[in-house]
Symmetry: C2
Subunit: 323 residues, 2 copies
């Protein structure tokens, strides 16, 4: 089973939940709707690859466990979209837009609950460990989302707080997916920790890449509007670092652009010029490489079991993306 | 350990979670705040009593498991209050009023997650069974809340739909608490089912009692405003049954009162007069007795183990309330 086949196993397992056939409709239809959106299923695929790397034999069973991770990921999307007032997700109306906020709250709650039985179904001997680990991951994701909202509303909050926030909000679930695969396979605590840690490092690098692409991607390759973060004055790593590095005059210029009410293209160009003068791109690229190198060091310290090459190449493919 | 001592064990365990000391504050303070409200802790006490009745010896451990039920109960309150736009809960501002909706969503999510490790902590051999049972209960509670919202917005929806809604929204968690105690004690499937069923029947009776008390309680004894449901035109069992029983003229009179814009005291008196003419009170009282008798029959069919008398007397005390 290669990564593409694992992904299609996840898709089948998602369909087998048959949320579109359950009652009451307003509770289950939004789950089916959100899960039908085209998606890469990175997290569950990682979980299955980590499971196989750690010697797990019950791939079919692990696919169900991995699907639980995708359910939780989608539960967080459903609730985050309410909190962020997001009108669309993956090009389609968000659940709270298509239905309403109450339905998005409640459907998300039930989706989250339904993940737990699926998580442990095929690994009863690891049930406690899986539940504890999984919960810790989800709670950190919630902490990350709260820190994100706190930072957005605060004038302070520097780079360390930003990195800690993206660690929790994004990277923990990447690392957690790998960790769950390792736990299900009965790996040692040391292996679980290492594989988790590598995933977390890659997750942070991945999110920084996301910040970078938002500014520097070629529009033709990029799913969203290039410069979207700049238009919204989003406190990304790039903006925070630019504010740190800028001299008095450039700081004032940046703050002026942030209050700019006119043409968005001009604003984007103006901010990018400042980023370029401050060599933000080079700096962030170096930082991302640093995270990936650190992750690779951890991964290389893992034993050379069957499945390691495939796990590594999938990680590389997913996280070294250019768009 | 009597019921009062169990309750104080639950309170200690809730305090031991130390939510007020955790970061980020906006995630954890609302949990501490809501859990500090004075409450009867009926569900966790029932779980511990059921555990003891089923021969469980690790009462301290069971108190932690039972506390997980209280966490989930409070998670549902936090989210239901958003959906119902409730300004107060137990006499204090609701979480979304005191903080905001986003905080109430996210804090509730994390509170729910945190229940799972606590649920299984001391009963690793029953971990899978506890997680599956608990999840089924929570999902039914979500279904009940959705059905409640669906019914509130619909012109149709008769008594069977109403009874099914209150079964899920209220009774399932009462029965579920008893069931969790039985599962933790390693009781047979038959005992778990019976004790669950008895709790569910009592829970339905309890909710109907609530509908009745809202209209017929003595104001001095009653925590809320008597007649609150009537003012809000809430589709309670009483109103649904009155609409069924009423002849053409009384139906019109009821509908007129429901559209009454003037004095609330007059509206309450007018609706109560119609209820009285239709003998709604007597009928609902008989129905409630029916549920309690049915529950007692199930409970009496349980074996006479130590702790049965205390379980029964607590159930009687809690559910045969007059205020």
């Amino acid at each position: 089973m290669n990564a593409a086949e694992i992904k299609s196993g996840i898709e089948s397992c998602l369909k087998a939940q048959a949320f579109d056939a359950k009652q009451p409709k307003h509770l289950y239809e939004p789950m089916a709707y959100l899960l039908e959106h085209e998606a890469k299923r990175v997290r569950p695929v990682l979980a299955v690859l980590a499971y196989r790397y750690c010697g797990g034999q019950n791939l079919e069973g692990m696919i169900e466990t991995a699907t639980a991770i995708e359910l939780v990921h989608n539960f967080t999307l459903m609730h985050d979209d309410i909190m962020d007032h997001a009108p669309t997700r993956r090009g389609k109306a968000t659940v709270h837009e298509k239905w309403d906020t109450n339905i998005a709250i409640l459907s998300g709650d039930a989706l989250f609950a339904l993940a737990y039985p699926l998580l442990i179904k095929n690994f009863p001997h690891q049930a406690s460990e899986l539940v504890n680990f999984f919960t810790k991951v989800v709670v950190e994701v919630c902490e990350g989302q709260m820190e994100d909202m706190d930072l957005a509303g605060s004038a302070t909050g520097g780079i360390p707080a930003y990195l800690e926030m993206i660690r929790k909000k994004t990277a923990v679930l990447i690392g957690g997916s790998l960790g769950i695969g390792a736990i299900a396979a009965g790996a040692s605590k040391e292996t679980v920790n290492k594989i988790y840690q590598a995933g977390e490092l890659m997750g942070i690098g991945f999110q920084l890449q996301d910040d970078l692409l938002d500014v520097y991607a070629a529009q033709a390759d990029f799913g969203k509007q290039v410069g979207g973060d700049i238009i919204e004055n989003k406190k990304t790593y790039l903006l925070l670092r630019a504010m740190e590095k800028a001299d008095r005059y450039r700081k004032e210029a940046l703050l002026n652009w942030m209050q700019h009410q006119g043409n968005a293209t001009e604003k984007i160009a103006g901010v990018i010029q400042l980023f370029n003068e401050l060599e933000i791109r080079e700096e962030v690229e170096a930082k991302i490489s640093g995270y990936f190198r650190e992750a690779e060091t951890v991964l290389n310290s893992l034993q050379d079991e069957a499945g390691k090459a495939e796990l590594l190449s999938y990680l590389e493919m997913v996280f070294q993306r250019k768009k």
